[in-house]
Symmetry: C2
DNA sequence: AATAAATGTAAACAATGTTAACATATAAAA
DNA sequence: TTTTATATGTTAACATTGTTTACATTTATT
């Protein structure tokens, strides 16, 4: 046992050997850290200090720092997916509403968890991400949910009958691009990103939807859900 | 003077003090390096080794590593801009062709210079980029060229009369997103990115262009320039 | 020719990820 | 229960990195 001093007062005593669940605690601290800091700033010292362990204790639970990051990426994708893709599968909701809402959740999640989003989709740990997943496996369920929703729209005559993979890439590119521009602060209108998303959604929709549906479905939906856009004509 | 040995032969003699133009040589080596390697792998040791100087020589020419990166960002944006935005200003070329070509150059430049693209638009050195430029100053001429081209289209009745800034953001987001997905290898069809770009361009166009132009201008242009898309209907 | 400025070097720092040798607590086997 | 193996923790040392300080040499200026 040793005495842990917090601030100026002796607060608690703590068994310094066999922490209990150090592995989970490392992960929790790491996720807490990137909630407010860039992933690049995360060091092993931060983790050992926060757990009152030695600098090499983490190597009993992760083979390397990269292995810790790998676990974070896996868990991160699960959390991201849970926030975005279930909406696409809500078959009782109108398809276009599902597109709109899941995209909105995509942007919102990126904005609320910028460091996690960069960890998942950025380049720094791409070598790790590439090892554990690709676009076509089931772990990337968000993309396949999008593709399936597009195919559902094709069957019901709402969506143009093109290659659904290509269509999904177009949609995803736009979302990823807007999310990236927002969180990497290219767009300085910070808390009003919705105007950009709505404008982008309208554009995407006009590219996706069949001509015969355009006049029927879009306009009522536009009035019902979208924020009004400034028409300067 | 000292003898520089390259390979097994004594090739040249070289004054080891006062190199001449070390600053430019550091930059050249750095740009050459990121042509084939990630910017994160660039170390000061690589630069000093390549110039046969000491590890601290670079501090006579740059205040810090970040200052070197800053210069690279400035010069990098100039090169990127020169490859993408002049097309938008070629007033003798049809506007839609200009949109199409400059976007294509955007994607191609990103694909051919992935590490430079990430340096310019990624998060790692965002703190440096933010210090030296923002979307609204003239150094970010690519964006304002896009915005101006959109406004030109509005005047001639081709482009919908909405907020041109918003429209430009939608276009840029899509390009940035697609470029990022390509260079961060989310799309494994490496050398056939054109199908994605063409699909995206069509989608963007249908969002930008006025209804009355849609049937007149797009279809001929589509047949003239775009690669045919697979229609699975 | 003397002096100042520019440009180079060498040596040392702290921070980082990592490993090796060692220590102790817990679980399993006797 | 005792013995032993395994899991988990510590300490000390490494090389690598960006950086600074003190010093050296070349070039430019007076």
């Amino acid at each position: 046992m040793f005495t842990l001093i917090l601030g100026y007062n002796i607060i608690m005593k703590k068994n310094d050997y066999h922490h209990g669940n150090l592995k989970e605690e490392f992960l929790k601290i790491a996720f807490d850290f990137i909630a407010h800091n860039d992933i690049e700033k995360l060091t092993l010292k931060i983790l050992s200090d926060a757990t009152n362990t030695s600098r090499s204790a983490i190597y009993r639970h992760f083979k390397s720092k990269d292995a810790l990051i790998e676990t974070m990426i896996i868990e991160g994708f699960e959390a991201f997916d849970a926030a975005v893709s279930p909406i696409l599968r809500e078959s009782d909701r109108p398809l276009i509403d599902r597109f709109y809402l899941s995209g909105k959740h995509y942007i919102a999640y990126a904005q609320n968890h910028p460091n996690l989003y960069r960890l998942l989709f950025g380049n720094k740990y791409a070598h790790i991400r590439e090892e554990i997943m690709n676009l076509h496996d089931e772990r990337c369920s968000g993309f396949s949910a999008l593709k399936q929703a597009i195919e559902e729209g094709q069957k019901s005559g709402i969506v143009k009958k093109k290659e659904s993979f290509q269509q999904a890439v177009v949609v995803w590119s736009s979302l990823h691009g807007l999310a990236s521009l927002i969180i990497d602060s290219f767009l300085d209108i910070e808390n009003n990103y919705e105007q950009f998303y709505d404008a982008m959604f309208k554009s995407l929709l006009s590219g996706l939807v069949t001509d015969k549906v355009k006049l029927l479905s879009i306009l009522p939906f536009t009035e019902r859900v979208l924020t009004p856009t400034t028409d300067i004509s």
